[in-house]
Symmetry: C2
Subunit: 295 residues, 2 copies
């Protein structure tokens, strides 16, 4: 059984990006610049954005954090987004979700210039992905592909079962695994809350990608031998014995499923750390595309 | 066994659209206007575009056919598309495929204003579809949904197997059948050329949508009792005994599969006739949206 080590892999990727940035500096080029917009004071959101800014520093990117108060109106946020779209110094930016209730999230995501949409949430980028065109793949699915790629997980002709149809993980994963190329060319089944006989389906799977947010959902009796298991579920379980007051767990009964699996991601330390690494990779890609477009 | 009669259903839809157009005229409103661009002299393409223009006339739409020579350059075609984008008289338009080799099809489809893209081929519209936003659904998938809707085919919690991952049928169908709502909420498996054990998969399906173009591919021993079968494969088989010199057949061994099926589409007369009806429906939708936007 092989552990798909997201912590190590994301570090490898960050080191590779650092090298590329060094070369850019040596050539006298402008380095990639990521901006993050955060509205309000949500603790988890501030933590996430903080990690993204620190990751930028680590690889040598420039970064800008735009903080706006919880009372920000939709118009004010759209104006800020327009400024970022128009600012040639910024290669890519993200708008941290969730947004306060007075703001229409869909409208905001639609306002981001697709060429700077390093989260890959704009419909144009999502459509480009589904139509096999070059695009920004959302960071979590992109991270899963990268993990599979680096560990040479064979996907072609395999039966991949995706659990959960969210816009940011399940739906894009189901599309990506069935595309031509590698990783891809899987027969893909997308399951969700209306799926009957989930065990019948998972027990046929060569690869299972679960993004449900239900701790311990996937049990050993639901999988066949030598299955590849990617656990995208992240749940904080309250635990007073820990300093933080909680621990992090995934959708998979790791102890028992890992005994049957050929490859498995741990939680924490699997898909999670890959996400920020892939956001950096998308930002680098945005920089390279802008450079190519201006040549 | 119920035949999903696309010919009758498409006629019903055309009659409904005719009524709506009559009401528009009564109110003194501009009627929907579809334009079709055709480059070159391909016989099949001319036939298709001709049918689309005639269908417009039948329901009371205005239509414009833009014919360009086979030697048209990409720049010339893009200029024509810009004119159609900018022309407020045109509600929607299509560019008939295939295009001559000197023209980059992707570039052309990307140039169509998504608000006038009644074929639903623009990545922005495809992405909107995948993200459950309002959009133009490509005509063939839209026609399949409409047929299922009108015949009350139950899709929720059913296992739908889609055969073929083309951008215009298989991929969008796989997304649409798994979306929230009706028809939708299916567990969806997308199969393709790399799929192993296709019979094992189809024999578990409650609904099979096949878009392969291989005559007689789906046989009775590959399906279970009471399956719903949607046949999108259309192949012209040469036959000198017929006046046209060919006959049309689908992917399904209709004679034998129909004995096990609860619902099945014939070929011809199933999905085919629905496609033009849904193109009209998208054009009507475009007109209504433009009207709403200008109010």
């Amino acid at each position: 059984m092989i552990i798909l080590d997201g912590k190590k892999t994301s570090n490898d990727i960050k080191n590779e990006i650092t090298e590329v940035v060094q070369e850019m500096k040596t050539r006298g080029e402008k380095v990639p610049h990521l901006a993050a917009v955060i509205v309000g004071n949500d603790g988890a959101s501030l933590t996430y954005v903080g990690s993204k800014v620190r990751a930028c520093e680590r690889v040598g990117f420039e970064s800008t954090m735009v903080r706006m108060p919880n009372t920000t109106s939709e118009t004010e946020l759209l104006r800020e987004i327009k400024k970022l779209n128009d600012n040639p110094e910024i290669d890519g930016f993200i708008v941290q979700l969730p947004l306060p209730k007075q703001i229409d999230t869909q409208k905001v995501l639609m306002a981001v210039d697709p060429d700077k949409d390093v989260d890959g949430f704009h419909p144009t980028n999502f459509g480009r992905m589904a139509l096999d065109m070059s695009t920004f793949i959302p960071a979590t699915p992109f991270g899963i592909l990268e993990l599979m790629d680096r560990y040479n997980v064979d996907t072609q002709g395999k039966h991949t079962v995706v659990i959960g149809r969210s816009h940011i993980v399940g739906r894009p994963m189901s599309i990506l695994m069935g595309r031509k190329g590698f990783p891809g060319n899987s027969t893909v089944t997308l399951t969700h809350s209306h799926t009957k006989n989930i065990t019948q389906i998972t027990s046929q799977a060569d690869i299972i990608i679960t993004a449900l947010g239900v701790p311990g959902f996937l049990k050993a009796e639901m999988v066949k031998d030598d299955v590849v298991v990617i656990d995208v579920g992240i749940t904080r379980v309250p635990d007073e014995s820990r300093e933080r007051g909680y621990y992090i767990t995934g959708d998979v009964d790791f102890e028992n499923v890992s005994k049957k699996a050929s490859h498995i991601t741990p939680v924490p330390g699997g898909v999670g750390p890959m996400t920020i690494a892939m956001l950096l990779k998308n930002t680098l890609l945005a920089r390279e595309r802008h450079l190519a477009a201006n040549r």
